[in-house]
């Protein structure tokens, strides 16, 4: 049995760890709230741009653009959105697992894969396992902006337009609730416009300035950007939620450990006292 002093130091070190995990849990909870706010704030833009796109589809059903044309799929690109920091449970690993499954399915069909990465964890994962990575960004912080991910998106879209790949997917975690986040794979290019039932039943079209092609191109680019941005924000919310849960279970574990160690410590202490008493008594009896 270890000495009382050893157990005492162990208890205090676990208590310190528990303090840290508790603090991290609370920080994650408050950050999660903020990110959820940010998620809601991004919604109006997405709704508006989807609206404009469905108007367009209605006005211009025959319009053809590289952004909309389906091609035979020989190569795919995955934009993988991961967290920058660890200590968030199996969040990133679940995501990578999904990607790997997808890639091995593709490989069986002879489809090659390319990657664009957002977040430190994705880049260190692909650093270790290899892969054709065309763009990367990380250190987005707690409040990601569109500007931070613009490089990755621009690079990916440019490659898509040069026909270096035929489909683009984003892979990110979707926020189901605080305890559940699901990896999700979503096709973003070519764009599929959902045609809403329009209130205008007669034919009409926009005036385009300077011309349709240019305006639509920047519209589509922004649409993709908003999709990726929202995915990044949602993934961040997942990261915080997952970290909160992981830290909560770490704090609970620490509590269990402390309880167990305290029991051993007290048993030890009692045994020592009993021993001392019996020594004194037997000493007295001998006199």
């Amino acid at each position: 049995m270890s000495s009382s002093k050893e157990i005492r130091t162990q208890i205090s070190s676990i208590q310190n760890t528990q303090k840290i995990t508790k603090a991290m849990e609370m920080v994650a909870a408050s950050k999660m709230k903020k990110v959820q706010d940010q998620m809601n704030k991004a919604r109006p833009f997405a709704e508006k741009i989807t609206n404009v796109m469905s108007h367009l589809a209605h006005a211009h059903p025959e319009y053809e653009s590289e952004f909309l044309t389906q091609r035979d799929v020989r190569k795919k690109c995955y934009i993988i959105i991961s967290s920058d920091r660890g200590l968030c449970g199996g969040l990133n690993n679940n995501l990578f697992k999904q990607v790997l499954e997808e890639i091995s399915k593709d490989k069986a069909k002879g489809i090659e894969s390319t990657f664009s990465l957002v977040g430190n964890k994705a880049s260190s994962f692909f650093q270790r396992v290899g892969g054709n990575v065309i763009a990367q960004t990380s250190h987005l912080g707690d409040k990601p902006t569109v500007e931070q991910i613009l490089g990755v998106i621009t690079k990916t879209i440019a490659n898509y337009l040069e026909k270096n790949f035929d489909e683009v997917y984003i892979v990110y975690n979707t926020f189901v609730n605080t305890v559940s986040q699901l990896p999700n794979l979503k096709k973003i290019l070519p764009i599929v416009i959902e045609e809403k039932i329009s209130t205008y039943d007669h034919y009409w079209d926009y005036l385009y300035e300077p011309d349709a092609e240019e305006v639509l191109e920047s519209l589509f680019t922004r649409y993709i950007e908003s999709l990726v941005y929202r995915a990044v924000v949602e993934n961040l919310a997942c990261e915080q939620a997952s970290r909160m849960v992981a830290m909560k279970s770490a704090s609970d574990n620490a509590m269990d450990l402390i309880a167990e160690l305290k029991l051993i410590y007290n048993k030890n202490r009692q045994a020592a006292i009993t021993q001392e008493i019996s020594e004194i008594i037997s000493g007295a009896a001998a006199l």
């Binding site: 290899g130 613009l150 305006v215």
Partner: protein, 141 residues
Amino acid sequence: MEGKLKLEIVSAEQELFSKEVEMVFAPAEMGEVGITPKHTPLITRLKPGDVRAQISKDEIETFYVSGGILEIQPNEVTILSDTALRGEDLDEERALEAERLAQDAMKNSGNDIDAAKAKSELLQAAAQLRLIKKLKNKGKK
């Protein structure tokens, strides 16, 4: 002035403005435009500049946009505003930066994904998580 316009200014990060207004001035690419109700549907890009919303005769609100897209419907004006300064050069610079970061990160690894290695790594992580769970349950019993 008859009727009003619904003006909405949104950026990818947040909603900036949403109100009924009498008139909107916006810095379109081909020159500033003033929009009154019943305008023809029009869609154009915006230059960086000020969007002025005339809410009533003597109430004007001004917003700075760093570019974006202006969509006009007869009774609705939507401005999809950019949050970052854009332009082909700037965008290209950002793209190059992202590419450079990727090349830096992947300097020491192969171009082809090592599926076996990736799988084993994920399995390892999953096994660790399982082990932790097991230990925890054991402790509870």
